[in-house]
């Protein structure tokens, strides 16, 4: 019998991480994700795990690097400015092929920005963030249940592909309360023969490293890593389609924006407008195929974002110029209203 609990999105992430076997958490307070740290501070000592408030986001991500190198599941969380600070460490995790889960409960930027919800770290999350050629697996939950289930998924995928994975949420998703179930089937962490957990004098020493001074070697590592990324793109794409079968207008949005957008789609349908919604759940790998398919039959695509237009670039690439793509957005912590999105849908339905 499913057991539902009413929880904040941030707390759901924390509890799901523990359910996924994460016994080590390192964080630094920043609004609007601090509930994750507070939850971990309460829970970890009771289950024999680690909660540590680091001296900075930089230290926290490097503590994550250490735990991951030793072969254990580990997580850190922050919000936009803090993720910028973690970007160095995330690049090192990617370069050393270490799995880890990083939570970004986005707030408005750039700079110190604001503390209200935003989706303006999409580029940072999906195009690398730190320096060098690499990707993160980026999962974008659309409700509190997914805050939990995608966190578990993030641990599994990070281990499966030996790469960092990120939950790309936002301040609203972090703060809102919804019922959640935690009855997951968790795939336990695989054997990690590469881990630096002591040789026990049984094997040659392991080295966790991202330095390769020989260019031929570094190139080889990068090519190998991108072969792995190609597998992720092949196997792990997730998205939701809503009323797409007969759609003439396509709207797309992820996370909090997709919730308002779905309302607008319902309102438009009531008015007889044939409109459908694609909600990317993985934003890296980006669900290119459903967009390519829809590009063959819709006359317009609207991308709804809490940013100045970031995901829209991936949408444009996916539709390959076959159909116009326009932006419907708010920024700085503002959320578009159903009316704003509906008006946009109506505008293109009329063929303006």
């Amino acid at each position: 019998m499913a057991n539902k609990v009413l929880m904040k999105g941030n707390e759901a992430i924390a509890e799901a991480a523990i359910k996924a076997g994460c016994m080590h958490y390192f964080g630094y307070p920043i609004t609007p994700q601090t509930e994750i740290a507070a939850y971990m501070a309460k829970r970890m000592p009771k289950i024999g795990g680690t909660f540590l408030q680091a001296e900075s986001e930089i230290a926290a991500i490097n503590m994550v690097y250490g735990v991951s190198a030793a072969g254990y599941r580990v997580m850190t969380s922050s919000s936009s400015p803090g993720i910028s600070l973690k970007s160095e460490g995330i690049s090192y995790l990617a370069g050393a092929d270490l799995p880890a889960v990083i939570i970004n409960v986005q707030r408005g930027g750039p700079g110190l920005g604001g503390i209200q919800p935003s989706q303006s770290d999409y580029f940072q999350a999906t195009k690398g963030g730190g320096h060098g050629d690499f990707h993160l697996i980026v999962l974008a939950p659309g409700n509190v249940q997914e805050m939990a289930s995608l966190t578990v998924k993030a641990f599994e995928l990070a281990d499966k592909y030996r790469m960092p994975a990120m939950i790309l949420a936002d301040g609203t998703m972090g703060q809102m309360m919804e019922p959640v179930e935690f009855d997951f089937d968790v795939t336990p962490a695989p054997e990690k023969p590469w881990a630096t957990n002591g040789t026990k004098m049984q094997r040659k020493h392991n080295i966790v490293n991202s330095l390769s001074l020989v260019p031929e070697e570094l190139e080889k590592f990068n090519f190998e890593r991108f072969e792995r990324y190609a597998q992720v793109e092949e196997n792990e794409v997730m998205y939701d389609e809503y009323l797409c079968d007969d759609a003439e207008i396509l709207v797309t949005a992820y996370g909090i924006a997709s919730r308002v957008t779905k309302n607008a789609v319902d309102e438009a349908r009531k008015k007889g407008i044939k409109v459908g919604l694609i909600r990317p759940i993985t934003v890296w790998p980006f669900p290119k195929k459903p967009f390519a398919k829809m590009a063959e039959k819709v006359k317009h695509v609207i991308c709804v974002e809490l940013s100045m237009g970031q995901m829209i670039e991936d949408v444009k690439l996916a539709v390959e110029c076959k159909v116009p793509v326009t932006l419907c957005n708010r920024s700085g912590g503002m959320i578009p209203s159903t009316e704003q999105i509906l008006a946009e849908i109506e505008k293109y339905a009329k063929g303006e």
Partner: protein, 250 residues
């Protein structure tokens, strides 16, 4: 009877350090201590960014390469992952530990993190070719202080042991050098204590080693050893700056 041989936990390869650089001596002392304490199989070393960036190749225990200055944070992670089993040491230079990584150094000390830090202070950035370090002496000529370190423009050197000794956190802080046979024997004692403290769960133990950089100091290896005595030790006096357990025993 063998009087002296390469320690087993030191890899049997040639190190990349310049002729006469004392990094090699300190590497060997760490390896000797690991051998004598019988901890190679459960030791994880953290290499820094700087001249000793490739230290991960020189020890036979498991090794991790950290981002610049972050070795104490990485060590914290490795240690907390399995505190009863893992013996964790970092090996860091002055730029890594006292400049870019100062926050990680101070806070791992404040937490009395049960790790061992070997801190190489040679008053210069070696790997990048001889720039001013946070520990460069007043008036010291480097590539980025070509007229000598001007304390009015770029401040004073940081005395790490003295600074950390003001904290309640750390267990053990000692400054040693390796510019003579006697000094090397003393340095080894300090390094051994810093590892033994970790085994005994006493906490944060840091050994600062005044070291040489003949290449970037522009000296012969022999003159570099002398320079430690003449210039460095007067500014950075050797000795124990904190030893909590010894104090409590009294």
């Amino acid at each position: 009877m063998v009087v002296f041989d390469k320690p087993k936990s030191l890899a049997d390869i040639s190190m990349h350090y310049c002729p006469g650089c004392t990094h090699g001596i300190v590497h060997r002392l760490v390896a000797e201590v690991i051998d004598e304490l019988g901890i190679e199989g459960r030791t994880i070393g953290i290499a820094p960014v700087g001249c000793s960036v490739m230290a991960y190749n020189y020890f036979n225990c498991d090794m991790i390469e950290a981002a610049h200055g972050r070795a104490p944070a990485v060590a914290t992670g490795v240690k907390r992952a399995n505190p009863d089993e893992h013996i964790v040491f970092t090996y860091q230079g002055d730029g890594d530990l006292a400049s870019i990584g100062m926050a990680e150094t101070v806070h791992s000390a404040a937490r009395n993190e049960n790790i061992t830090i070997i801190f190489i202070n040679n008053a210069i950035y070696g790997m990048t070719g001889g720039q001013m370090a946070p520990t460069s002496l007043p008036g010291q000529v480097t590539q980025t202080s070509p007229y000598g370190r001007d304390v009015n423009a770029c401040g004073f050197p940081v005395r790490v042991c003295e600074m950390l000794a003001t904290l309640d956190g750390p267990e053990y802080l000692e400054r040693v050098t390796v510019n003579s046979v006697k000094a090397i024997k003393n340095a080894k004692k300090a390094i051994k204590k810093a590892f033994q403290n970790q085994i005994d769960k006493k906490g944060f133990s840091l050994v600062e080693v005044l070291s040489t950089c003949p290449t970037n100091w522009g000296m012969t290896p022999k003159d570099a050893l002398k320079w430690v005595d003449e210039k460095m030790i007067p500014y950075y006096p050797l000795g124990v700056y904190k030893d909590r357990s010894a104090k409590e025993d009294k």
